[in-house]
Every structure is written in structure tokens, then in C-alpha cells.
Subunit: 355 residues, 2 copies
């Protein structure tokens, strides 16, 4: 048999301790197949991936539901940060985008760009973290792809995740659904993710480590829908890049309405506020990865707040403002001193490669 | 109003002639929104993308169908090559993966990693090519994401596309469905894509330019199903990275069967064969982006071949071999001289960054 002689390198298992990514791992031959089998398929282990075809076959839900698809590319630097890594982040980011459509996420796909020379041990750590996050969220990674680029043409690992979900009948959330009078809630403190990543990047040491809030919010969304009529939930959105301020401006734009925030009601960790002051950042514009904005019918705001607070990921939920009629679609803030100021979109670069 | 003063750079339209990607385009603020609005949303223009939410809402098919999802990351170099570019390729690659599951593709998502400094004119060319390919295939790009990395941390553009499709009732294709006695067909010549890319990369000049076969095969798949009973189509697969040899080995492995090819029946363009000889490549291992392998019940092989040949993308279709019982799951070739040789998986690196 000539096969044995032709593939001496792949008779051995992957060296996940000292091995490195090489160009062969992206060439689609035996080395690619080995990387998939010994790392990705093992970590993501599920019946869909085990189908071994070009895509995954998934069952459809009963009639009356709708399909949601969302995608997110992750280029965060550094790859590992307090509270997570690019793998868990890639799962959370996309699970959350699907959940923010009012959908129950059912499957993820993942596409990797690996840089030649990247340590297989770090890749394994990322893939295992991703698999653990997917399991915790109850959303399997059902298909994937891996490509390799030469040293100096990438930056370790980039991951694009796509999520699929189904929207149960009766739910109709969307950025255009905010109505004057609605209550604006957030599920917890904001700015944590951006500050955690920046502190690691800049090697800043704070007395207490600030950790990313990176988390899958599909459970929290279900808790909210369980507590109030589906039609009372108008908008759900996770304030990631651009932060809370940019997310609220997007919603105001889509809904053709204004939003007024109460500065005193905005939940920000003391540590995060302090770090932001030091770094010259406004926490309103700093990315979050485990928080959501929920805009609900004001008549159900108390029930919504109680439901969020009863969930481990919503303990610090707060009612932070209201939607108003405003043809200018402005987001404004009632300051602690009784004044009003505009809250604009994020304009320039604030934190590059934050997700 | 302070907003006007805060965003002087984004009061002007994007400079698609001389502008360049900067880090702001990936920061999730106004510059990101502008890039999406003036380039991506305009090119991909469709009702789903226009929803403007974190994901796209899609209708579900009637009961009895199944959902397919597939993903592909594209890092091809160079970005532009004879017969296509990374944009059209990213559409074709993923449309084909979905179609190879026997599904009708209904939607694509796209995630971009852009390198700081990349010319917006080149990005626009890629996005417009992608949009044209999507329109031609009848599959809208319904959601996307764009990230920017610093100069020297990427390589122009990487694109990850994910495809969603529905499998009509009665179809059951998959890599594990090949049975002894089945006929092995290919839809046309192979090796064209890899040789076209390599010739551009190496600045090789041939008498006649060799162009990539990059094309969407969903129409060809439908033509095949229209011509024979759904149950007669056992395996469909596009021989991309790793080429025909690797694809057939994957199928043999999944189906626990052997495959015997007829060397004399393998369709390879003379130009491609000549270039491969010059470059020391075996066309059996060279990537294709607009060809498929169809393994069908032998009783329907003639009808299948006729259906393929009647379609513009299948004119040079050929019956190239058969599936046999073989516990070793070998792929073998009956040579022109009456001998037999093993056709192994692609073992090492052949053509890096070919897709």
C-alpha cells in the first residue's frame, strides 16, 4: 500500500501540546480532515456535524413559526481576555443576535481563518471554549469551515459564526417596533466587556479585575417572554460595538421615535466607571456582550423588570428611560443635574477589534 | 445641534474611487453604518436586509421539507482571478454546498474581515460581483457583518458565507448514500479553477487564458432532479479544495464502498492538462468551483447524463466510473493502459488559498 508511505505526518495524532497550524491544515486534504476530526468534530460533537456532508440537515419547526438567520465576524484582540475568549464570544455574539429577533436559536455554524504558525494548543483552547459555550446555550455548532493564511496575513484566529433560530408564533420584535410611551429596560450594567478587553490589551491593572459580561442571552429572552404577553415585547437588542448609545440611536432611527434616558438610572459598575474615566471613554459607547435592551409596553414594564431580575443574567436590570414621539429621532439624557443632553451615535473609532 | 460638528467625515458620501478602509469602518458607529448603507445594502438590496435588525426573518417552507445550513470561509489569493473574484466565489461556493445537499438555497449571509488601507474601489468591485452572483443564482444576501483589522493583520478581504436552503420532500442525498453498482458522473471538466488562480498568482501566460469554472450549481441540480426520480440521486458533491480525488475518497469513506474511475473518461481541458504538467500538478487534486460529482442509480445514469448535458453548466458532463463493494473503501483508477492505480486523498499542501 502506498498510502502509508504517502502520509507519514498524519499517521500520528495532532500534537495539541506543541504543534502549530500549517498551510496543509487549510488545503482540504488529509491534514484538514485530521484537524476537523481530532479537534473540531470532537469538541463540537453532535448528530448534525456527524452527518459529514457539505452542510447540516436540520428539522423544521411546526408551521406558524418563522426562520431567523444572523451572522457575526469576530476579530477580537487579544484572543483571550478576562471573562472569555474569541471562541465563547463568537458563540454568545451570534446566539444573542438570533435571540434579539425573538427567536429560539437552534444551530450555529463557524468559519475560521487561522494564521500559519498559530499554536494548536491555543486553537484547542478556543475551540473547546466555543464548544462549552454552545453546550451551555443549548445551541449546537452544526457545520464549519477552516482556512489557513500565511504568517503575517492574519492575526491568530478570526471566527465568523452564523446562527439559525425559529420565532414562535405571536412574537413580533424588531428595531422598528418601539412606540411612544414604551419603557426602556436594560438587563444589567454596561461597559464591562469593552473595559475588560481594553484593560488586558493595555496591560492595565485595577484593584479588582474587571471581567467581560460575555454570555448567551437566549435563556433571559425566554424568561422575559414567559412573564408577559408576547405582543408587549417590542424591541430586543444587544448593545455590542458602539455601546448602548449607538444601539438606542439605531432603534430611534428605525422606529422614527425619540428616546429619553435617565442618567441616574443607568447601571454602571463603579470599577468600570473609574476605568472609563482613566481611559477617557464614555461607558455609553463601550461594547457589551451579555446585555440587552428591552423596549416593552409600559403597562408591562414592572413585570418585565421583575422577570429579568429573577434570572441570573438580569439581576441588575434597570428601567432606564422611555420612548417619546420625536420626528428628529433623537436620543437624549436627563442628567443628574436636571438638564438634558443629546446622546449621539458613536462617531469615530473608540475601541478597535473589541469583538 | 452638536451632531453636525461631531461627524464631519460622514456628512460626505463614501469615496468609492479613492477612499480606503479605515479602522472606523469596523467600529460599529456611524462610519460602519455608512459603509453598510452606501455599499453593502445598496449592492445586496433586498427586503430581508432592509429589515435592518440583528438578523433576517425568513418565511418557512410547507411542512415535509428539511432545512439545510452550510458555511464556507474564503481566503483566496489573488482576490481577482480569470473568471471571478472572492465575491462571486464566496456566493458560488456556499450556494453549491447547499445545493449539494439536494436543497434549494434560499438565503446567504456574509461576514467580512477587511484590512485597514484596502481600497474601497476594490471592495466595491467585490461586493458588486457578489451581489451579481447572488442575483444570478436567485439567492439573496440577507444578513452580514463587517470587521476591520489593522494593516498587516489581514490580507485585503476574507469572506465567510453561510447558506440556508430547503430540501424538498423525497430527496435524500448525502455522502453516505453511494451504493455498489451506482454510476459516477461529473458535470464537466475539472482542474480549471485551481489552474486559473495559480496562473494568475504565478503570472504564467498561456496561449489561451484559462478561466475559473466558478458558477452556482443550484440550477443544474434542479435540472437533474427534474429528469429522474428523486430517489435515484444518491450523492451530490462539488469537488473543491483537494479536487476530484479527495472528494471521491470522502464519499467512499462515508459510504463504506469503493469507487473505480476510468481514466479515459475523465474530462480535462487540454490547456489545463498542459498547465498541470508544467506546474507539476495532478488535475485530479486541483480545486473546482463550478462542477459537481453526481452518484446515481445506474439504471438512470443515461437520463442523468442527458439532463446534465442539456444544461449550460453541464455540457461536458461525463460518466467517469462506478461504485463497487470494497471494505477497504479505496478509490482506484483503470488507466488508459489497462492497469489499475490507487487514487489517494490529497496528502500535503498543493495549492494554498485556492478558495
Amino acid at each position: 500500500m502506498k498510502t502509508a508511505a504517502m502520509k507519514p505526518d498524519y499517521q500520528r495524532p495532532l500534537d495539541l501540546k506543541r504543534g502549530r497550524v500549517d498551510m496543509n491544515h487549510g488545503a482540504g486534504g488529509r491534514a484538514s480532515a485530521q484537524l476537523v476530526a481530532e479537534l473540531f468534530a470532537r469538541a463540537f460533537d453532535n448528530e448534525f456535524l456527524a452527518q459529514g456532508d457539505d452542510g447540516a440537515l436540520l428539522p423544521l419547526p411546526p408551521p406558524g413559526q418563522r426562520l431567523v438567520v444572523s451572522t457575526d465576524t469576530h476579530v477580537i484582540s487579544p484572543l483571550f481576555f478576562p471573562g472569555g475568549d474569541i471562541g465563547s464570544l463568537a458563540v454568545h455574539g451570534t446566539v444573542n443576535d438570533v435571540a434579539m429577533m425573538g427567536a429560539r436559536p437552534v444551530a450555529l455554524t463557524a468559519g475560521f481563518v487561522l494564521e500559519e504558525g498559530f499554536a494548536l494548543a491555543d486553537l484547542a483552547r478556543i475551540v473547546e471554549s466555543m464548544a462549552a459555550a454552545a453546550r451551555a446555550a443549548g445551541v449546537p455548532v452544526v457545520a464549519g469551515d477552516t482556512k489557513v493564511v500565511e504568517r503575517g496575513k492574519g492575526d491568530g484566529v478570526f471566527v465568523t459564526t452564523t446562527g439559525i433560530g425559529f420565532v414562535p408564533a405571536g412574537r413580533a420584535v424588531g428595531g422598528a417596533q418601539a412606540r411612544a410611551g414604551d419603557a426602556v429596560l436594560v438587563s444589567g450594567t454596561f461597559g464591562d466587556h469593552g473595559v475588560a478587553v481594553l484593560s488586558r490589551r493595555e496591560s492595565l491593572a485595577f484593584e479588582t479585575e474587571i471581567t467581560s459580561d460575555s454570555a448567551a442571552l437566549n435563556g433571559l429572552v425566554e424568561a422575559l417572554f414567559a412573564a408577559l404577553p408576547a405582543a408587549a415585547v417590542h424591541v430586543l437588542r444587544d448593545p455590542t460595538r458602539g455601546g448602548l448609545a449607538t444601539t438606542l440611536n439605531e432603534i430611534a432611527q428605525q422606529s422614527a421615535a425619540g428616546i429619553v434616558l435617565d442618567e441616574a438610572a443607568l447601571p454602571v459598575r463603579e470599577q468600570v466607571a473609574g476605568a472609563c474615566e482613566l481611559l477617557g471613554l464614555d461607558p455609553l459607547y463601550v461594547a457589551n456582550e451579555g446585555k440587552m435592551v428591552a423596549i416593552v409596553d409600559a403597562a408591562h414594564a414592572d413585570a418585565a423588570l421583575a422577570a429579568l431580575r429573577a434570572h441570573p443574567l438580569g439581576r441588575e436590570a434597570a428601567r432606564i428611560g422611555e420612548v417619546i414621539a420625536d420626528p428628529h429621532r433623537f436620543v437624549q439624557m436627563r442628567t443628574r443635574f436636571g438638564g438634558r443632553r443629546m446622546v449621539d451615535w458613536l462617531t469615530g473609532e473608540q475601541l478597535p477589534r473589541i469583538c
